[in-house]
């Protein structure tokens, strides 16, 4: 896995990337990785609130499922977060 990430880092950074370009690349990676999960978590939480407002008695179950959905959606942003550090290293 780490080998692949190293190759990816080299491909993204070119043969001899300057430190500045590495930092910019890491910033772009994290920014790009945060877009999708941001929208996704918004959809998950928004719909969970709608469901809780419609049926307050089901709030406990909805909340558990909402955290599950957030956890799955959030994973992609966290991969980007980790990858941005790996790209700098």
């Amino acid at each position: 896995m780490l080998d692949t990430l190293g190759i990816l880092a080299q491909a993204a950074g070119g043969a001899d990337p300057t430190p500045g370009l590495k930092v910019i690349g890491a910033g772009i990676v994290y920014g790009g990785a945060a877009i999708g999960p941001g929208i996704g978590i918004g959809i998950v939480v928004g719909n969970a609130i709608t469901a809780m407002a419609r049926q307050p008695e089901a709030a406990g179950m909805v909340r558990t499922t909402m955290f599950l959905g957030i956890a799955f959606t959030e994973a992609l942003a966290l991969f980007g977060f980790v990858l941005s550090f790996l790209l700098q290293g």
Binding site: M1, G60, M61, T64, F67, L68, A71, E74, A75, L78, F79, F81, V82, F85, Q88
Partner: protein, 257 residues
């Protein structure tokens, strides 16, 4: 030292890598993170043994017994019964142990004088994820048989025939590789991100305090607020780790219909 916004910001490796204290140069190096991990183990064991002994002495729960009973009750009703149903109650002790261990490891992030989340080092979340991976695969093979487990994993019902090869490939990759990887990275990255956030605001507060005392008020207020937020994140990540474990084990116990 790297300068960001004219602040001297320590490089990331300085924030999470600690000098070896004992057995330097061997594979059994002990540093601050390892000591904290052992401390977490001792705290969890101590809590449960103390609570067990006290509840034997008197039936009315007080002090530590209340904490432990609330935790067990929470995992039982909000995690096991919600995701696995009554059939999964046998996994409650395992899930309670994982919950308290992860929670206390995370909580070291905000305890003054320690302030190092153990789970911000990849080894511990990775090992926990490997344990979970082994358990849910063994449970699946035991309950459904080797062929049955792979059949229900690779070919979910209700998929058009033409898409089956593609779906099988995606399901294989997502169950065998992505599940443990994302389980470990989620915990690790959340704790690392929280630690970096707290460090950033602490560095900012310190720099502004030495420049103008008044300017440090806002970052210090945010630092306090973020510390409270990180307590919430610690609990939430422990809860999410445990509930995903329960979902994976529950999914392996009963094939989808």
């Amino acid at each position: 030292m790297r300068s960001i916004l004219a602040l001297e910001f320590p490089p990331v490796s300085h924030l999470v890598e600690w000098q070896p204290l004992y057995f330097e140069g061997t594979p059994f190096e002990v540093n601050k993170v390892v000591l904290l991990m052992w401390l977490a183990v001792v705290i969890v064991l101590g809590m449960f043994f103390a609570a067990g002994r006290k509840s034997k002495a008197s039936l009315v729960p007080t002090g530590i017994t209340n904490v432990v009973e609330t935790g067990v009750e929470f995992v039982r009703t909000d995690v096991v019964l919600q995701t696995m149903g009554p059939a999964g109650l046998g996994y409650t002790p395992f899930l309670v142990t994982v919950f308290f261990f992860v929670f206390i490891c995370n909580l070291f992030e905000v305890i003054p004088g320690i302030q190092m989340p153990v789970n911000a080092r990849m080894a511990i979340p990775a090992f926990l994820a490997i344990i979970v991976w082994v358990i849910f695969n063994v449970v699946g093979i035991k309950n459904q048989g080797l062929g049955g487990y792979f059949k229900s994993m690779l070919f979910p019902p209700g998929v058009p025939k033409a898409l089956l090869p593609l779906v099988a490939l995606i399901e294989l990759v997502s169950t065998v590789f992505v599940r443990p990887f994302s389980l470990a990275v989620r915990l690790f990255a959340n704790m690392l991100a929280g630690h970096l956030l707290l460090v950033s605001f602490a560095v900012l507060t310190q720099a502004l305090f030495s420049a103008t005392i008044v300017g440090a008020v806002v970052p210090f207020g945010l630092l306090v607020a973020l510390t409270a937020f990180e307590v919430l994140v610690s609990g939430l990540q422990a809860f999410i780790f445990v509930i995903l474990t329960a979902v994976y084990i529950g999914g392996a116990m009963h094939p989808e219909h």
